[in-house]
Each structure stands twice: as C-alpha cells, then as structure tokens.
Symmetry: C2
Subunit: 125 residues, 2 copies
C-alpha cells in the first residue's frame, strides 16, 4: 500500500453528460476525511430538492458559469471565484442561472472536526 | 448570524499573481471542517520544500495545466481531472510541468474524521 491514490476524471466540462452532472470521489479514492463532488451542470439544471445535513459542513467552489443558490429562503448569486460555506442545518438548493455550463466543486466534512491546519498540521521535511 | 457565508475570489487564473499563487479560505469563511486553498501557479513554479502532515489527509484536484507531484520519492503526472488523495505521513512536493498555468484546489481535513456522507448525512427536506 502506498500513501496515495490517483484517479482521472477527464475533462471537467464533460461531467455534464454524467447522471446529475456529478461525480462523487469518496469511494473512488477511499477518502476518510470528507466527500467531494466534481460537478458540471447544463443550462436549465436545478437541484430537484431542498436538503440539509446532520453533521457535515458544505463548501461550494464555483469555477465557471453563473448560478443561484437558495439557502434558508435567501437567494444568492454565484459565479467563477464564489465560495460558499454552509452550516449543517441550513436548507439549501441551487440552479444553473445562465446559458453557460455551471462548473463547481462541493466538499462536505464533519463540522468542528478540523484541529490543526496548514502550518500547525504540516511539517517541512 | 446566518447559516452561510460567501466570499468572492474573482478569476481563478488571476490567483497566479498572488503570493505563492495561492489563496487559503479557512480564515475567510470560518471553516470548521477543513482548510482549502485555490491555486494558480505560473510556468516554472515549484513548491520550494517537501512536507508531510500530522493528522490531515490532503486531496488535490487539478483543473487546468500539467504538473508533476513527487510523493514518497515517486513522481506522478497530473492534469485536468486528476485527483490525488495523500495520507498524512507521505512526503510530498509538486511543480508546474508545462508552459501553461497550473490551476488546482487542495483540501486538507482530519484523517478518519468523516462519519456519514451524502445520503447518510443529508436529509431531503
């Protein structure tokens, strides 16, 4: 067993042709700290439900296109470079809000699980 | 206090003009589950040290360009769609390996901290 594992998803823009325009990577990489999805949705795509989480914080990172997130009944606009953190109990959904594809990454990890980070967890060798 | 927070980083390609071509978002968004950096490095960029982690798993998501990661003395090639999970003790570094900018995202979160995920943590409302 090596200490790392790599997968190849190919072009991110082609993920729009997958079911729900989404690839989850937890199971592919045997992640133990978070779940991550890589997403590309077409014009007109809307997440068909509202959801919240029990324990996991979510972080949405937008790479391309324009979207509208609805969080606790508040609508917010997102575009390339928008990053949104959402606490577990918030009720959320989102949609592609332009004629372009909407590319984004979603991370979910357990709220309050992080201890050290960057220079308090890393060691220069 | 709302249950969410948004920041705007602007064009990801322009992050190459920041110090080390990197923006960390933990402190900006008051994250509690992970640290995330959004990165764009120029041709010729090489992380100037080797490092490992105490407790955090790292996940590298490559968006554009070509790079070479060195992990425990093994060199691996990465490009758009490559995703690499690295266990805490692995000794790692990386470099931009082409004439293009190298765009990527790095997540670090505590190894073995994740309990439920997706449908075992989410609740449809």
């Amino acid at each position: 067993m090596t200490n790392f594992k790599k997968i190849e998803l190919g072009k991110i823009n082609e993920i729009k042709n997958k079911e729900q325009g989404k690839i989850f990577i937890h199971d592919e990489l045997n992640l133990t700290s978070c779940e991550v999805s890589i997403n590309c949705s077409k014009k007109g795509f809307k997440v068909p439900f509202l959801h919240k989480h029990k324990n996991n914080e979510e972080i949405y990172i937008f790479l391309k296109g324009k979207g509208i997130m609805e969080i606790d009944n508040e609508k917010i606009e997102v575009k390339e470079g928008s990053i949104v953190k959402i606490a577990p109990p918030a009720i959320r959904t989102m949609e592609n809000a332009s004629d372009e594809d909407l590319e984004y990454i979603v991370i979910q990890a357990k709220e309050n699980s992080l201890e050290g980070y960057t220079m308090t967890d890393a060691e220069i060798v």
